[in-house]
């Protein structure tokens, strides 16, 4: 019985994530646009897949990935070997970003659009090469950002410095980046920090800050996500320069 009520609670939890979107879209479709839903059947199947998939996915994350990830983050923080820590930060950032579902979907879309716009060859090969490159770039940049963030927490440097320098660099590189990549680059910052990345990275930051003397978990523990959503913007623009050439 308790398992059943737990599962029902979990399904409801997944549903709550999607509900506001459904409500707004339904309101607009029926009251504002006043047309029946196009492809209602297909959309309903899709919504069911999204809710059901999210439910199973979150259930799995919480029974498998999060406990190991959090425990390891804590063990590493108390291990005291700085180089392993930095490397772990990089590896965690890279691997969680590659698995992020939103990135998978958007990168594919960006590849098709780039091919339609004629900036890359319109063939399956060159599209998948572009998409793969994009995802690796984003993952690499998140890895580097987390490694940097770990160094920041160990050294106790203020986050503000990184933010200032980072944003200044972004604005500078924007002037040289090809126009076709700028939108995708700025969006990639928000895409990376989603379902898998945020909990694992936050655990690492809070674990580290709690284990190093003189660090405040709130001031130092947060901020990894901020770096992880800043770095991809810069790196994807640089990727754009290497693929399309300078503006």
């Amino acid at each position: 019985m308790s398992i059943l009520s737990y599962l029902v609670k979990r399904i409801f939890f997944a549903f709550k994530d999607v509900f506001p979107v459904i409500a707004v879209i339904t309101f607009f479709q029926l009251i504002v646009i006043r047309q029946p839903f196009p492809n209602l059947e297909e959309s309903l199947i899709g919504v069911t897949l999204v809710i059901f998939g999210l439910f199973i996915f979150l259930l799995g994350l919480e029974t498998a990935l999060f406990p190991i990830g959090e425990r390891m983050a804590n063990q590493f923080a108390s291990l005291g070997n700085v180089w392993w820590l930095i490397f772990f930060g990089f590896a965690l950032g890279f691997s969680t970003t590659i698995a992020e579902p939103a990135l998978t979907v958007i990168a594919g879309k960006a590849g098709n659009l780039a091919a339609e716009a004629g900036v890359i060859l319109n063939s399956k090969d060159s599209i998948s090469k572009f998409v793969y490159g994009l995802r690796i770039t984003v993952a690499l940049s998140v890895g580097i950002a987390i490694a940097l963030g770990v160094i920041r927490i160990i050294k106790g440097w203020p986050l503000t410095w990184f933010i200032m320098v980072g944003y200044a660099l972004i604005v500078l590189v924007t002037f040289f980046a090809p126009r076709e990549i700028i939108g995708i680059a700025y969006d990639s910052g928000g895409i990376t920090t989603s379902t898998i990345t945020v909990p694992l990275i936050t655990a690492l930051g809070l674990g580290l800050a709690a284990n190093i003397r003189g660090r405040n978990p709130i001031m130092d523990g947060f901020g990894l996500i901020a770096l992880a959503s800043m770095a991809p913007i810069l790196f994807v623009m640089i990727y754009g320069i290497t693929v399309y050439g300078l503006r």
Binding site: V21, V24, V50, T174, T193, F222
Partner: protein, 269 residues
Amino acid sequence: MNNEFLNSSLAILWGTFTDILPILLVLGFFQIFVIRREIPYIKDICMGLVLVLIGLSIFILGLERCVFPVGAQMADQLAAPNFLTDGKIDVFEAGHKPAPSLYYWTYIFAFMIGFSTALAEPALIAVALKANEISTGAISQWGLRITVALGGAIGVTLGVYRIITGTPLYIYIACAYVFLLIQTYFAPKYIVPLAFDSGGVTTSTVTVPLLAALGIGLSSNIPGNSPILDGFGLIAFAALFPMMTTMAYAMISQYLIKRKQVEEIDSNE
């Protein structure tokens, strides 16, 4: 069950497996070679991994089959000449760009999507709880949630306006960054890391594909706009503006508390 469906399901399952393989390698490598301790509850973990694999595959299938098409459909319908002009299509003729004010329903839609999705975001609820603790009550949970949601709503609305007008993204972003940096300088120190993290928090896995589809759909429906130049950027806006509103909220609450204290001192004298 036909063969094609089976094949595409297997392909997605395989793709998902290769996606989460790096996480497994990283965790496995560090556990075995660096931490060198046995993994407890290995059975539970294997079970959980199977769930992750299946759940993620179904979820991605749903995103591709539903969330993306629905976002694109909404964009198509909201930007359709018939809907915009009540049948007076001549506004659109001769290749002229339609006036941005015609799209008022689209702005309202963007605002509502931005607001409601941010408000329901579970990660935001957790962040709001923490912020309430560290500010010793100066920042109320609901206050912060509504602040962040408003930020998301303003961001998406402005982003849609940008797509409709086809103005370059970097101008908006550069202005926003300058504003953000000035704010960072003046805002109470404890809010800065939280504010910068709150940007990433609003853009969840479901919102991101929907916003991307909306942006791409709108830009391909508006004469003279191109999806690759104008279609992206909604997610960036949705992530940027909550940072501003969060810091603004902290600044205002601090100011109010100070003023109250000053008043109390005055009335005591």
